[in-house]
């Protein structure tokens, strides 16, 4: 992908405050660099998108290049949750609990149409949460049914951009962006 295409969301960088103490900004740069390049996802997947998430971790697409190959089974060790698949009403409290158990800073990627909006199960289904953002705050939405591994990589790179805007003086800046 060309650099110009990747930077298509120009408004994101406008939120980066210029100026500030040199100590703070230097620390910011280091911390954001570290955080954005070692995103450990939680092993959490409910349906079809899980397979594409595994494919993204597999040799062809290999997202350990972006520092996120270390899948953690415990939410306490994870930085990021990729909601891959449909969330139904019975699963919703479990997901909320998993999110609450993760330690700050924590990020959420809604992967696939089901997590974004309910997807194919939006109409006529009595048991599907229509979008995971009803339960937990989402940082990046990736559409697709199922999402291609390349699209997941793109989403992760957008999240890394977003993390790089964080500052010690305004730590939950990503939250304010939404």
């Amino acid at each position: 992908m060309k650099e110009a295409d990747f930077r298509d969301n120009e408004t994101l960088e406008l939120y980066k405050q210029s100026g500030g103490n040199i100590l703070v900004t230097t620390l910011d740069a280091v911390i954001d660099w570290g955080r954005s390049n070692s995103l450990w996802p939680l092993t959490f997947a409910t349906s079809c998108c899980a397979i594409e998430m595994m494919a993204a971790a597999a040799p062809r697409h290999d997202f350990s290049r972006f520092g996120m190959e270390v899948y953690r089974a415990s939410p306490r060790q994870a930085d990021m949750i990729v909601v891959a698949g449909t969330i139904v009403n019975k699963m919703a409290p479990v997901l909320k609990r998993l999110y609450d158990q993760m330690s700050d800073p924590k990020y959420v990627i809604a992967m696939g149409a089901c997590a974004v909006s309910g997807g194919p199960f939006f109409y006529n289904s009595y048991h599907v949460v229509r979008g995971v953002d009803h339960i937990i705050p989402v940082d990046v939405y990736i559409p697709g049914c199922p999402v291609r591994p390349e699209a997941l990589l793109y989403g992760v790179m957008q999240l890394q951009r977003k993390i790089k805007l964080e500052s010690l003086t305004n730590p939950r800046k990503t939250e304010n962006l939404k």
Binding site: T46, M54, P59, V94
Partner: protein, 374 residues
Amino acid sequence: MKEDINPPVRNIEEEYHINIGPQHPSTHGVLRLVASLKGETVTSLKPHCGYIHRGIEKMCEKDTYPQVIHLTDRMDYLSAHINNHVVCLLVEKALEVDVPERVQYIRTIMDELTRIASHQLWWGCFGMDMGGQTCLLYGMRDREKILDAFEESCGSRLLHSYYTPGGLMKDIHPNFQKKVKDFIKYFRKKIHDYDCILTGNVIMQERTKGVGILTKEEAIDYGVTGPTGRASGFSCDVRKRYPYGVYDRVGFKEILGTKGDTFERYMMRMLEMRESMNIIEQLIDNIPAGDYTAKMKAVLKLPAGEYYQRVESARGELGVYVVSDGNKSPYRMKFRSPNFSNLSALDHICRGFKIADLIAISGSLDFVIPDIDR
């Protein structure tokens, strides 16, 4: 007064419960298992379903038959083609449509490729459950080759919705046959690696041989089908017994086991991959020319009545039962999913084995959870 400084000795005979899932890496999805343990031994196991119940059967009642196909993909996403096939066959049977020969050949090849892809992924996950991360990487690497062939012809990697009632969405890509032949040549070598890395591994054999035994009678009682049922010696291959597509025209063996333990279930799938390659090799050069779809009406209305159709998915017998009242959408659509029946046997298989064996056993049953809950 003398205080009792020693804590009361815990009665080790006491039963306690462990909750596995719904978020647990080795349940392969959002299955929740409540295991009752005595020490480390499983005394009973209670699966809880519904964590991914999306109401697909109810949604089918609102959809037309071609729309239903797109929902069936999302049930057992690892055998998407086969799920589409069962609905197409049912509609074709009810409307008494003659499907072109070419379509039947292509469908059979696609089904078998799906089966191989599904078993490759299963092999990787099973290896990972046993503690070998390399297996996952090998399995996924080879699976991508099949997905490439799918992507060219069907336009999608995982959920294709390639079959329509009466035929296919589109004809196969000119490269398809070459790609499939290349894959088979490649995979014949690679499957040997699979055997070297995992099948012959002593640790793996020790952990699986004689563990989780399901006898033939029990397999029949629980309705366990597919490689799991065949490992117990239950001859249940729908491709042999109720042939569809062109399975009656190809020569292939129904692979049957005898012991019904975890290792046998593992071997069933390894041998089935080879058998699937044999089937594809017989068909790939002989795809007849012709139309890729039969002439169908714009709106499909099934005559009032009840219909049942079954196919062999990668996990067992997949059946679909439809009650039609003559409208363009079914009155009731019920899926007999193989995973649901296989899950019912899990409690029985696990009893008396250690909790660590539970992971190997549930791995060898190859669950896809959305297929259980639908």
